[in-house]
């Protein structure tokens, strides 16, 4: 436990003053441009994924401003993931309803399919709206998440509070070419801070940015 903070301090002490020039441009990408890019362009896409603080030669990289992003939205294909999930739920509920009607009230055979359609429409609608509501922003001193259809939730995670950052890819997410990022704090809502529906390179890039910002936020304090 002694080594780690020492590392961070070292890193902090080699930092240039935070008002180094040219803070805005390099890693900021327009998301819409990314969106239109499909799988073929993926390997060429992650230029900003390379700006790990470790191998940064440029002074710009150590400036917190270099790691921030504008307000970003999720990858559109996460919609299909969510819609698919809603359909599975609808299928299960519809199946249960069908079985129940067959057993209890066979004179109303339409109830099962009706349940399926209803749940599917509601679920899919919710999934699409949820996708539209999602946005996140990596700011100078905190991560801001904004999402929610029925209940709109905005979460601020100050980098000083970040314990660790995971990227996770479940089997279905892998099949869809997606990945999610989980940011842990010591608070209870740690598990809530999950950004789903990121492209794999995007989530590793975010992880790098957040890591750098988290380290920096401590370095600055350890004066």
């Amino acid at each position: 436990m002694d080594d780690e903070p020492a590392d961070e301090r070292e890193e902090a002490s080699t930092d240039p003053p935070p008002d180094a020039p040219g803070d805005e441009e390099p890693p900021q990408r327009s998301l819409d441009a990314d969106r239109s890019a499909d799988d073929e362009t993926r390997p060429t896409d992650p230029p900003s994924g390379a700006d790990t603080p470790g191998d940064s030669e440029d002074a710009i990289e150590d400036d917190p401003g270099a790691y921030t992003t504008d307000v970003r939205t999720l990858d559109p294909r996460v919609r299909w993931l969510w819609v698919g999930r809603a359909l599975v739920v609808a299928l299960v509920l519809g199946g249960i309803a069908t079985a129940a009607t067959l057993a209890l009230a066979p004179e109303w055979p339409w109830i099962g399919p009706a349940v399926f359609v209803l749940v599917a429409v509601l679920g899919a609608g919710h999934a699409l709206l949820l996708y539209r509501s999602w946005s996140y922003e990596v700011r100078e001193d905190s991560l801001l998440l904004d999402r929610g259809v029925i209940t709109r939730v905005r979460t601020v995670v100050p980098y000083v509070r970040v314990q660790h950052i995971d990227t996770s890819r479940g089997p279905i997410e892998r099949a869809a070419g997606l990945s999610s990022l989980v940011v842990y704090t010591a608070g209870s809502r740690g598990a809530d801070v999950t950004i789903p529906g990121l492209r794999p390179w995007e989530s590793t890039d975010l992880q790098t940015r957040l890591k750098a910002l988290a380290i920096e936020s401590e370095g600055e304090d350890a004066v």
């Binding site: 436990m1 780690e4 903070p5 020492a6 961070e8 301090r9 001193d141 905190s142 929610g148 029925i150 209940t151 709109r152 939730v153 905005r154 979460t155 601020v156 995670v157 100050p158 000083v160 509070r161 314990q163 660790h164 842990y184 704090t185 010591a186 608070g187 209870s188 809502r189 740690g190 598990a191 809530d192 801070v193 936020s217 401590e218 600055e220 304090d221 350890a222 004066v223």
Partner: protein, 510 residues
Amino acid sequence: MQLDPLSIPYRAVESGLQVVIGIAIAGIAGAGSVGGAEGLAVFGVILVVGIGLSLGWQVAYFRRFEYRLTEDTFDIDSGVLSRREREIPYGRIQNVDIRQNVLQRALGIAEVRLETAGGGQTEARLRYVDLESARHVQEEVSRRKRREHGEHVGDESAATERGETLFELDGRELVILGIVSMDLRLLSLIAVPLSFVGPSVLSDFAPTATASLAIVALGLVGLVVASALVSGGLSMARYYGFVLTDRDEEYRYERGLLQRFSGSIPKDKVQTITLSENVLARRLGYASLSIETAGYAGTGQGTTGSQSAIPIAKRDHAIELAGRIEDFDALSFERPPRRARERYAVRYALVLAVLLAIAYGIVRLTPLSFPWYVLLGGVVLVPVAAHLKWRHRGYRLEDGHVITRNGFWSRRITIVPIYRIQTLVTSETVFQRRRDLATLVVDTAGTYSLVGDDAMAVDIDLGEANRLRQELAEDLQESIVEYRRQRGRDSFSAPNEGVADETSVGSPGG
């Protein structure tokens, strides 16, 4: 150092009880299949072998368990089949508790629990050591922790060892505590089985309908009284002889009539403090105070009880003590806007409407008949309830603290030092959006927040919520810098040690 040898028979009995029951069932099954005296012999053999095995296991456990207080870690080597060697740095220990139930007191042994912030459960338990060693561990851990902070630790002068008594529960307060903590939730526990048994018993004893109704009414009253007495008595026993002392770096408390309990709360690990007062306590002018650290896992009932700093005290006194722990200015609150009150009125009206519909449905569809329209009288209560709910909400933003207040039946005032904030969340439900309201949740690493009782400013204006969220996030940055600088000055610890201390409170459920 090893556990107390008496822990072998105690643990054997304790863990053996379930085993013995299992053995007994197996034994009876075996005996049943053989039958007669032979069966009894089989049963006896199985029982003796089972107990022997259990005892043997405990002996092995005892022999393979060892703990050490080293220079900077608390080490425990344990495990019979799978060995575990655990080192806990003193600086990471949040609480050290000693607990003893009646039997353990008779035997002179005690359980020691060390809590850290990481993980979902108690970090280390010593089951069981003799009381003296337990005290020794508690003292040593806090002494070495102080030393780790770089403080000058003199010889154990009597003053620091005994500390200053902050609060002592006297007889009067104990009685009030009993009254205030009467809890009708126990009622449901008794009521459920009774509702199954009740009707059949009733039909046997009561010949007429009126007589049975009278019996039911009497029984209900009796139940309420009984459960109130039991719950009140339980908390009186729990907090009997409560003493809170202030030692340099930590608060120490002791309590309990049958089960003795002694715990430590390190001052620098305090996450939030909560002043709670239910309806009764408010009437009587009393309040209770609890201090939260990140140590206790959010599960289990022991947690809520064990963190109480002041089980009950005159409200002013409780507030004054709270002020000693956290230096806040005042407890005057800003209420949510009036339109929040309308929201509650609508909500209660809807609940009432649903109840009415159910009652009406029952009357129409079942042979049962009762004046369902009596429920209409509830309309009068709706605005009152809405007003009360609104009145008891509030929030307050100070330089170093954010304070929230919620709840009519059991009002909780939560004081959160800004440098303890973990995340900030605003949320708006559909219904809140209609009225431009929002809820601000101030999340900390404290235990209550793990079970979902965060500090919340509910139903405040949307713009205000967003403004508060941003402002608090900024204040957090500043206060962390300030806090660390101060700590760096106060104790001679390296600044980066302070950093590690602040941020490494672990993640829950890890």
